[in-house]
């Protein structure tokens, strides 16, 4: 068996709300190898962010609670570490970039001070060393005139540049894993392309593993080696990237791919749409969480929740139906 850099096993996270306990993550297991880029795809509320926040122990408690599971990083279970120990990992060996570059930077600190903070904290650098490294980092993420721009405040940067700063900050301590939570969703498509190209270049240069969380199947196609599709707090499909796009098997994945307009289409065809809405789970489901929206749903789907099973070495899917003849898919 190959040693994995990060191995998440049977992770369960719940949130207490006035309406009841929401089962946000329901037994998620996956592995991440060194230098690998893993895409995590799903719609809002499917548990993709909460999964990674749980691994980083960033789920606010209460109302959130990690109920079960393990997250082994170099053999250590991150979920069992003391607050001091996890703080040393976070931002150091594993770091995270968030969706909104407007709110994740401190508006009253200069960019230079914000970049220097993790360096002084994790790598025990002096202020002067940290400043030099901060200039290097800004250059690395492609911000011109880095030395002058260290003195600027976040509001003097554009959205794309702020996201570059966030990436620079995340990379500052040479992490082994970079978790990117929808880092390009708030950005324009041209700026998104810039950021994706930047991450690809940094991946080559620095060789870190990446977990890229997104709802955009398009971005993942050009970036990830392996993709996990989540729905209702479960992984419902996992495959090597080419395999997933060429032979999607779960009805939800089929629906997601089908609902994207085809850029090559000449004549106008109707978009495939998945009727209904994603669920909020107040009970751990005893049926397939996708059944109410599924065109293939049969009796078994209402009585039993399918588990993730391998259909070939590169492909796991949680579905009872045989979707290989895509007749129900427009």
């Amino acid at each position: 068996m190959v040693d994995h850099l990060l191995s998440v096993q049977d992770l369960e996270t719940q949130f207490k709300t006035p309406e009841g306990i929401v089962h946000a993550v329901n037994g998620v297991s996956f592995d991440l190898s060194e230098g690998e880029t893993l895409g995590v795809v799903g719609e809002s509320g499917c548990g993709k962010s909460v999964t990674m926040l749980s691994v980083m122990r960033l789920v606010q408690c209460p109302p959130g609670k990690i109920v079960a599971g393990k997250a082994l990083f170099h053999g250590k279970d991150l979920l069992q570490l003391s607050p001091e120990e996890i703080r040393a990992v976070r931002g150091g060996q594993i770091s995270m970039v968030f969706q909104d570059p407007m709110t994740s930077l401190n508006p009253v600190m200069t960019i230079g001070d914000q970049l220097a903070e993790p360096l002084i904290l994790h790598l025990n650098m002096t202020k002067e060393q940290a400043r030099k490294r901060a200039i290097e980092l800004l250059g690395l993420v492609g911000i011109p005139r880095a030395e002058e721009r260290l003195k600027d405040y976040p509001h003097q940067y554009s959205g794309g540049m702020r996201q570059r700063v966030m990436i620079a900050m995340a990379l500052s301590c040479n992490p082994q894993i970079l978790i990117a939570d929808e880092p390009t969703t708030a950005l324009d498509v041209t700026i998104q392309a810039q950021i994706v190209e930047l991450v690809k270049r940094l991946r080559e240069e620095l060789g870190m593993a990446i977990v890229w969380i997104t709802h955009d199947l398009g971005v993942v196609a050009g970036l990830a080696q392996r993709v996990i599709v989540m729905y209702g707090g479960f992984i419902i499909e996992e495959a090597e990237v080419k395999e997933l796009y060429a032979h999607p098997r779960h009805p939800y994945t089929l629906g997601l791919l089908g609902s994207l307009p085809k850029i090559h289409e000449e004549s106008r065809t109707k978009l495939y749409s998945i009727e209904g809405m994603p669920p909020v789970l107040y009970r751990k489901p005893t049926s397939c969480p996708f059944a109410p929206r599924c065109a293939w749903a049969m009796e078994r789907c209402w009585n039993e929740n399918p588990v993730l099973e391998s259909i070939n070495p590169n492909h796991r899917v949680a579905c009872f139906a045989d979707t290989t003849n895509g007749s129900k898919h427009a």
Binding site: E43, S44, S158, G160, M161, D188, V189, T190, I191, Q192, A193, Q194, V196, E197, H215, D216, L217, G218, V219, A221, G222, V241, K242, Y245, A246, G255, L256, L257, S259, L260, P261, K262, I263, E265, E266, R268, K270, L271, Y272, S273, I274, E275, M277, P278
Partner: protein, 325 residues
């Protein structure tokens, strides 16, 4: 194109927002949000308007509906010139011209029931009252595929996609012929986007609606539009039929936008050469001289800094503003 087909004509429309500074609020400049654009929309078609944030596409939509008073230029809707109308006359025109907003959370009053939201235009234009409103609201809810019994509920009880349907029902209440759709799907989840786009298409064919569809998502714009206009920093740089634009993009900005679209196909993604634009959109307070795109343009020449490129029809129905085409 005969004139009877044209429902909306925008002629050299400009919208500058003044900037005031200092104690005496002196006018120090202006944001050139829309800086001289002209186009026509034909009856029953969907014209897509795309560009990055801050390029003036939403301002264009709002200025057409006279939600802002334009700085210069004319807007003709059917046979009426809108910019010179008095506010009461314009109010009556709005029965014909409606808008669907981007944010389904902010565009519905949280203290009004769905019935009151959708019924408000009916009441304020005095076309229905009492029971009639209830009937019409139920009819409209059915039209946008919501349960007609939901009239008594409040917006917070609905999901984003459902709220957007309520916004659509409100826009349809007065049976308009022209609707400005201002990024109606950008705030929605992928699977819900397709539902709303399909609904908009169904309504268009049922009622012969004309759409101005504003978006930054080029793949969705291609899907829904008949013709597409590409905007950059307050001006339109290219305008043509949807297939022509995607098959034969002429302006370097259009080419860059198209190459930036992420494509859900790993084999194709790996094979294609992407042309990534450097830098950000310049400030509309001080747009670059000559061609506005020249600061990011891969093929900019000296002439581009001197002269604003002319808006030309290079082949039938394919308009572009670039010196190098």
């Amino acid at each position: 194109m005969t004139n009877s087909e044209v429902i909306l004509t925008v002629d050299n429309l400009k919208m500058h927002f003044p900037i005031y500074r200092g104690v005496i609020r002196r006018r120090v400049g202006a944001v050139h949000a829309v800086d001289g654009i002209s186009f026509q929309v034909k009856k029953g078609e969907t014209l897509g308007l795309v560009g990055e944030s801050g390029c003036g596409k939403s301002t264009t939509g709002r200025t057409i509906l006279q939600l802002y008073k334009p700085t210069a230029g004319k807007v003709y809707f059917k046979d009426t010139e809108l910019t010179s109308l008095k506010s009461e006359q314009m109010r009556l025109m709005r029965r014909e011209m409606q808008m669907i907003f981007q944010d389904p959370y902010a565009s519905l009053n949280p203290r009004m029931t769905v019935r009151d939201i959708i019924g408000e235009p009916l009441m304020s234009f005095g076309v229905a009252s009492g029971k009639q409103i209830d009937e019409r609201v139920a009819e409209l809810l059915k039209l946008v595929k919501l349960n007609p019994d939901y009239g008594g509920r409040y917006p917070h009880e609905f999901s984003g996609g459902q709220r957007q349907r309520i916004g659509i029902a409100r826009a349809l209440a007065m049976k308009p012929s022209f609707i400005v759709c201002d990024e109606p799907i950008s705030a929605l989840d992928v699977s819900i986007q397709a539902q709303v786009v399909n609904l908009l298409e169904d309504l268009q064919s049922e009622f012969g609606l004309t759409y101005l569809f504003i978006a930054h998502d080029l793949s969705m714009v291609r899907h829904i539009s008949d013709r597409v206009a590409v905007m950059y920093l307050g001006i339109i740089v290219e305008l043509t039929d949807r297939n022509e634009l995607y098959r034969n993009p002429l302006h370097p900005y259009t080419q860059a936008l198209l190459s930036a679209i992420p494509i859900a196909d790993p084999v194709f993604s790996a094979a294609r050469r992407r042309q990534v634009l450097e830098g950000d959109v310049p400030s509309p307070v001080n747009p670059p001289s000559g061609c506005r795109f020249r600061t990011r343009c891969p093929i900019a020449a000296p002439i581009c800094a001197e002269k604003q490129p002319e808006w030309r029809e290079v082949s039938p129905n394919h308009f572009v503003a670039c010196h190098k085409v």
